[in-house]
Symmetry: D2
């Protein structure tokens, strides 16, 4: 009953076996091997266009270097108030981009409010050297709180960004979970809606370490080989990242893993919706479930070995959680079993 | 016959199998798992004292964050003219340390000349705000050209550094190869000779991705958890690095792998020394061999599939290489076989 | 009728004459002249304790280098939502501090709300590597909107900062105006209330270019000589900054100039308070006056040559300004005359 | 007898008087005043083309921001081994350019050797992510040791830079001294010979603080307004820099001051050449004179109040200075008098 995070899971067996198979033999280093090249082509197929792909070690790196690639002196990047980039990366995006500022834009359901984004951007007039310069917008898909931007919503954000020539970045740490939730293609959820660059996360969905930056316009990636090397993110045995992605894409394994994780979350959602000692804090569509549970039920679950995190009550809605209640986050993954889900739901019924 | 670099090899089978074994199950993320903790203790045992250990993705990261940890405004770090940090890391050490300058110190056999180091340090008087500030010394063990500092040589460098309170860093991308070449213990080759922090490399010696920064005085590592996270080097599934090191240390696997690589290089050294179409460019003690070969022999070797790099002729000794000769570098690894060595030597005799 | 900003004024005659007098002769460079030393002693007298003083070119530099001096990896500094450091310095504080993040704390009257500051600091738990690290608090005295922190208010903020060992910085671009408004001594308004470092501004109060960073604990300034030089802020002919401060302090010129500016603002406040076509937007105590004026009156004033800026209506109080009204900022300085004030007030009565 | 440095002098009377005259009145801030605009036009006239001009506080800032403007990730800038940027700016160029590396190129007479520059550039192949990227060349005119690049020499360097699309920067801290030494026009010594951007120094030649960055292709300056503001180099009362330049250019004052300084140095050169207790260390053409004097004569001069610096004996020519001799640097300026020169020469004859 491990619901703490999808990064508590290990590696999916197919990916682990592929790593083992790849361990023998020799290949050229630093991303130049045949396998690296093959996987780069695979990315182009997945996204139905030529893309430039850069493997990196962590999601933090993918986000930070993406934003760094479009940074200008005094630049600011707009993100949701609760975005990972501003909340949980210890200032890495600012560090790598030469001190760009992240400007928080609020919005319901973990999504940037388009009107508020427009207003915030407008508060940085072009050519005003004092305030700083609007440079980029970054959205998280799926969001930090388990919701997803619909395709039109992504289009609306990109339209706003386009008006001021701001680059649009998507933090796709849980890209696959959002994709299968929407039933969209990778192309539809990204460049066809105006996304310029993507942090494509594999780690949370069954890899042990596989993150990539994807540029939909390869011309914009010209500095990235140097940016990545200088950022200490160029693996010598890069082909082991490639191997993970190779297995990840094979026979649409990645989509299957994400569907499984989402389905396990569906189980939690249904069970919690029907429970007397718990309720959904807000609707989610992916592999994250936020529930208000009685403190008693939470204790029982913990006593039976369930792992999950308490979640801070959103400042805007203090009434969400009552006196003897707790807000918790439950995250499923490729490794979550129906037994885990049932086990947890039984705690609520105890 | 892959002699291009030790990072062209894959992962040793024991390490690959351990990764597979570890792929199942759940564990807490970001370096907090039991396995992470176990391996941290293992490092303390290996180095016979309490150390602070930080896993990172690349040797570039290990070197850069080590130097960053002792950086001060306007600081300079002294390294050998041919050191990896100054030659091959695209400015990463400067980037992570907030623009510290690397100052090259020459020296024979790839090793910093102590007298020249003293003189160079003296050219940065304390309290002179114009020149910059001596902050650190970094040595590479084994060096870029296959030699090793003897224990007294390390002690001499550290004595010079100590006089001006400069931190001493060791780039140990090939730490194990140097260690077994000297027949020393890890403690003797580091903190007992005044080394403050070490880039401990596992990747070139049989891991697929396992690098660690080791602080011999854990007090000096207080900022490092934040420095590493901000540098996008904190793996969520950190335990997979730990797993590699766990297997690496088990039954002294790491020392055995390094001994094997060095022995394969011995085979090359002996064969080249006896050859009519090649000679050793300079003596080496580890898994790198530099040879002057006739261009004809080099062509034959390449024709038979041997992989190796041409090496630039050192500016100081142009006479080293004659008109129809080529300077080449041959690197062995845990994966090199005697058949590879023999095959290469046969090319020279062809 | 120049009320746009106090930095539209030139230099006070005494200061200008002193610069002229100092122009002859030779003196050692880079802050080492006798005059530099004399003025450093003068700062100690003004603040009634040993202080470390560093002249810099701009208020932006003073603020940025102050914050840089206490910065740590992943660090965050807390400031008021409308503070100059976050609104008007193009990211300079982040840039110089190696990408520290500025976190905005709201509060009425342009002043940080102590309870909200405590809550915000608490959201950055110590030893959490993800969120970032609470490092410093910065307050602006006088504030951006013409108000001042009382001495107990400063003490309360510093008490909160102290609990988490955060450095407390004061942006004193209008230090003198606040000082005479409170009737306090420089010591009382700073270190006696827990301020660690001060941006001491002379430019807005009659110098042409004289800004200083003052450390109340000189031990904390040990890196600053290098930090300043590396920041390109060490003037070769530093004595010309010293000369300005020398004249500035002589016979308490600086206090007289600030009193004059505040008194001119008093004249505006009284006149506006009595006007039918204008009212004070909020009470201010220093040389800044914020007024809601009829758009007609504003036009008349502009027509007669008055210079001032429209000010954005605070988002929290849209009702402050009616349909045919405008919010304007009026700033007085040492160079403002009673005729200027009368002239402006007459526009309101026209 | 102040020969320590040209920055020990104060401000020329015409410039000091202009500052006084400008001290009254009001003008818009941050470089937007009429005077700022007027002086920008003046720069265009001086350089006979449209240029973009940015005032900054120090020569360090001018050099650092110039180099920052053409910096790329992993970039390197080539400079002479003894250049101010690498020797005397505490790492500021690296800091402002996001950790660009300065690579020293040797050369006689303080000037970059073109063949060695070509070779050094060639050691950074394009598209090699490991070594770093050739980005810029910077030359110092006049050089640190009093010599000047001839116009063809500048052209040769720019030709080499152009081949690899490297920007060419000129550090003109002593631009005027070099200009009058060559008898060239500002245009001839810069853009007509391929210089892209110039640090135009006024401080050492009679201003108290007036430095400017000049872009000969204004398109390349598009980021500079933000770069400068973020670098804390945008003066609020910028017009006082403008006022200095206005007086500096008026009636070619600047050329007259430089000619005077050079002529005073000529006096020293002639006198030293004829002396028995001194000789010129090497020929110089501007306001710096390097002399080998008997230690006895140096002592006498110091005893009579002469101020000058001992200069380190160049490592390449230890034989330059005998056992009881000292190498000294003598710098003249607009403020040096013939009496100073005569006084010093008399010490040599004593």
């Amino acid at each position: 009953m491990f619901f703490s995070s999808d990064n508590w899971a290990g590696a999916h067996e197919s990916i682990a076996q592929r790593l083992l198979a790849e361990s023998a033999g020799f290949a050229s280093a630093y991303g130049t091997s045949n396998l690296d090249k093959k996987v780069e082509v695979r990315f182009c197929e997945v996204f139905e266009r030529e893309v430039a792909v850069f493997f990196v070690a962590t999601g933090t790196a993918a986000n930070s270097l993406s934003l760094a690639s479009v940074q200008r002196p005094g630049g600011v990047a707009f993100c949701h108030s609760e975005a990972h980039v501003i909340e949980d990366e210890c200032g890495a995006p600012e560090f790598f981009s030469g001190s760009a500022r992240l400007v928080a834009v609020p919005g319901e359901s973990g999504k940037i409010d388009p009107a508020k984004l427009s207003a915030k951007i407008a508060s940085f007039p072009e050519d005003d050297v004092h305030h700083g310069r609007a440079s980029a917008v970054t959205i998280t898909q799926a969001t930090e709180i388990g919701t997803v931007y619909s395709l039109p919503e992504i289009g609306e954000i990109s339209g706003i960004a386009r008006k001021r020539n701001l680059a649009l970045h998507m933090d796709g740490a849980r890209f696959a979970n959002a994709l299968v939730a929407l039933g969209a293609t990778p192309a539809e959820m990204t460049w066809k809606r105006g996304v310029d660059m993507l942090s494509f996360g594999g780690t949370k969905n069954g890899c042990w370490c596989a993150e990539a930056i994807v540029f939909f316009n390869p011309d914009q990636a010209r500095e990235m080989p140097f940016t990545r090397k200088r950022a200490a993110q160029l693996f010598s045995k890069s082909r082991f990242i490639a191997a993970q992605f190779d297995a990840y894409f094979e026979n649409d394994l990645w989509l299957g893993l994400a569907r499984h994780a989402n389905r396990m979350a569906d189980g939690l959602r249904v069970g919690i919706g029907a429970s007397n000692s718990a309720r959904l804090a807000w609707p989610t569509a992916t592999n994250e479930v936020f529930a208000v549970v009685t403190t008693a039920a939470a204790k029982i679950a913990e006593g039976r070995g369930a792992k999950f995190y308490e979640w801070p009550v959103p400042a805007a809605t203090p009434e969400l959680v009552g006196g003897n209640e707790t807000l918790i986050r439950l995250v499923t993954s490729f490794a979550t079993t129906e037994a885990d889900v049932d086990g947890f739901l039984k705690c609520l019924a105890a």
